[in-house]
C-alpha cells in the first residue's frame, strides 16, 4: 500500500520536533473534535432515554412530586398492551401510515417520471412543487383548518365546485368518516415532493445506454419500464418509504394542529395519545412505558426494513 507523503514525512521527523510542529497529535485532535458532539447527544438523548426506561417501571407522576414512587415491575407494559384504546390508536396510526405512503409513492413517482421527460422549465416547476415540504408542519396544520372550513374554506368550495355537492354539507375535520382522510390529504400535499425528489435522483442515475441496449433488443417501452426503470429506482423508492415511515410514525405537530386527534379520538395517532397520557393526565410512569414501546417498535421495524433495503441494493 502506498503511504501518503505526509505519513512519510511524519515518520522521518524525530518525535519531539514533530510534536512541536504539528501542535496537537491527530489522535488528540480527533477526540477534541468528536467528544463535544457525543457528550451533548448523550446528555440530551441517551440520558433521558435511560431515564424514561427507568421511569417506565414505576408509578411516578410528575404532578405529585411528594408521593412515594413505587417500583411496579412490568405492570405499566402489561396495562398498555391490554388497553383497547391504545390498539385503536395504533390502528389509526397504521391507517395514516399506509395511506400516506401509498399515495405519496404513487404520485411522487409519477411526478418524477414526468419531470424526467425534461420538458422546458422543469427546474422552475420542480422548485414550486417542493415548497410545501420545508414549511412548519404546525403552521401548515393550522392554516389547513381554515381551508377545510365547511362554508368559507377553499377546499370545500373546490370540492363543491367539482362534484356539485353543497360546500357546507360536509366538514373534513368535524366528520368521523372524513377526518382520517383530512390528515392524509394534508400530509400527502406536504410530503409528496420528498418522494418525488428521491425518485427523480433515482431516475437520473439510470444510464441512457441501458435503454439503448434494450431498444436494440427490441424490448417494448412497457417492458423497459418494468424491467429497467422500476428495478433500478426501487432502492431509492424504498429509502423514501423508510424516511416517510419513520417520520409519520412520530407524527405529532401537523395532526395536533389540524384535528387535535378528533373528532372523538378518531385521528388520535400514537404520539398525540402519548402526549395526552404524559402531559395532560400526568401518568408519567405509564407514559414512559408507552414511549419505550413506541421507540422499540420504530427501531425494530426500521432495522428489519433496512435489511430488506440492503438486499434489494445488492441485487
Amino acid at each position: 500500500m502506498l503511504k501518503s507523503s505526509v505519513d512519510r514525512v511524519a515518520e522521518a521527523t524525530p518525535h519531539a520536533i514533530a510534536k512541536r510542529m504539528h501542535g496537537l497529535s491527530d489522535r488528540a485532535l480527533a477526540w477534541l473534535f468528536v467528544a463535544p458532539s457525543i457528550v451533548l447527544l448523550l446528555a440530551v438523548n441517551i440520558f433521558p432515554l435511560i431515564w424514561t426506561i427507568r421511569l417506565s417501571f414505576t408509578n411516578f407522576r410528575v404532578n405529585r412530586p411528594n408521593a412515594e414512587v413505587e417500583f411496579v415491575g412490568l405492570k405499566n407494559y402489561l396495562n398498555i398492551l391490554s388497553d383497547r384504546d391504545i390498539w385503536l390508536t395504533m390502528q389509526a396510526t397504521a391507517h395514516f401510515l399506509i395511506w400516506t405512503i401509498v399515495l405519496q409513492v404513487l404520485i411522487g413517482f409519477a411526478l418524477a417520471y414526468l419531470i424526467n421527460k425534461k420538458f422546458r422549465g422543469n427546474d422552475l416547476w420542480t422548485t414550486i412543487i417542493v415548497l410545501p415540504m420545508m414549511l412548519s408542519p404546525a403552521v401548515v396544520g393550522n392554516f389547513w383548518t381554515f381551508l377545510y372550513q365547511p362554508q368559507i374554506g377553499l377546499f370545500n368550495y373546490a370540492i363543491g365546485f367539482l362534484t356539485g355537492a353543497d360546500p357546507s354539507s360536509f366538514s373534513m375535520i368535524g366528520d368521523v368518516a372524513l377526518a382520517p382522510w383530512a390528515i392524509i390529504i394534508v400530509d400527502t400535499w406536504m410530503w409528496t415532493p420528498f418522494v418525488m425528489l428521491i425518485c427523480l435522483a433515482g431516475l437520473r442515475s439510470i444510464p441512457g445506454s441501458i435503454y439503448e441496449a434494450a431498444e436494440c433488443d427490441r424490448a417494448s417501452k412497457w417492458r423497459q419500464f418494468w424491467t429497467i426503470t422500476i428495478p433500478l429506482v426501487l432502492p431509492f423508492l424504498m429509502l423514501a418509504v423508510l424516511f416517510r415511515g419513520i417520520e409519520n410514525f412520530k407524527m405529532f405537530d401537523l395532526v395536533v394542529q389540524l384535528t387535535g386527534g378528533g373528532p372523538g379520538s378518531i385521528t388520535e395517532l400514537t404520539s398525540i395519545n402519548l402526549k395526552r397520557e404524559a402531559f395532560e393526565k400526568w401518568r408519567t410512569g405509564y407514559a414512559s412505558a408507552y414511549a419505550v414501546i413506541l421507540f422499540v417498535t420504530v427501531f425494530g421495524l426500521a432495522s428489519i426494513y433496512v435489511k430488506a433495503l440492503n438486499k434489494v441494493k445488492q441485487r
Partner: protein
Amino acid sequence: MSSYSVTEPSLRQKWVAGILVVGYALITILPLVWIIGTSFKSPSDAIAYPPKTFFTPTVEGYVNVFTTRTRLSPEQLQALGEPTTWYDKLVRKDGLVISGPSRFAERFTNSVIIGFGSTVLCIVLGTAAAYAFSRFKVPLKDDLLFFILSTRMMPPIAVAIPIFLMFRSLGLSDTHAGMILLYTAVNLSLSVWLLKGFIDEIPVEYEEAALIDGYTRFQAFYKVVLPQAATGIASTAIFCLIFAWNEYAFAVLLTSGNAQTAPPFIPTIIGVSGQDWPAVAAGATLFLVPVMVFTILLRKHLLRGITFGAVRK
C-alpha cells in the same frame, strides 16, 4: 431524422409531461397563495361565501397580528378624538382601538434567537465532528455515526418527559439557553452526516500540501478545509435553521411564557370577536415566507439535506 435518440423523449411526450406537472404545481401552490392572499383581506372578505378571489387589499391582518385591540362604544370613540397614526385609523373604522402590542413580535424574536443560536452551535460542533470522522481513524467510527443518526428516530414526546424533569432541576425550562441546547442536539445528527459528506468530497491532497508547508493539523483544517467546505457548511446551516425554525413538539411542551417560539403561538392568535383569519394568515405568511425563500436558494442541495446525505445528485 438526423438526431434520433431512443433516450430523448419525443416532443409530444414533453408537452404531455409538462402540462401534467404544471397542473400539479398550480394545484399544490394554491393553498400557499391563498394563505398569503388571505393575509391581505379584511376579516369580512376572508369569511365571504363563495370564497373571494378578487378583493381590495388591506394590511389590517398585519396590524392585528402585532397588536391587541379593544372594542369601544361610539361615544367613547368620539371622546378619544381623531386617530393619530395610520394603523390607529385602520382599526378605528371597525370601532376598535389599539390597546397595546401583541406577543407576536416577541415570539418571532424568540424563534430568531433560538434558531440562529442552535444553528451556530450545530455548525461548530458538527463541522468539528464531521472533519474528525472524515479524516481521522476514530475508534468505533461506524457505530458512533450510526448512534448519532439513531437519535433522530426517537419520537420527541418519548424523551420529552425526562428532558422536562431535567430542565426543571437545572433551571433551563422555558429559557433560550435550554431551547438552543435542545435544538442543537436535535439537529446535530443532520449536521454531522451532511457535513461529513461535504468534507469527504474535498481532496485530502490539499491538506497534505499544507502540512508539508509547515501548517499544523489545526491550521490546515482552519485555513484549507473550512474555506473549501464553505458552500456545504452554508447549506447545512440553512437546513438546521429551517428545522429549528419549524420545530413544534418540544416548543409546545417545554416553553410557555418566556422562550416560546412562533409555531405554538400562531395558532393561538384570536381576534376581538372570534377567529381572526387574516391575522392568523398574516402571522403564518411572515413566518413561512422566509423559509420559502431559503428553499429556493437551497434547491440544488435540497435532496441531499432531506435525506441526511444518503442521496446526492
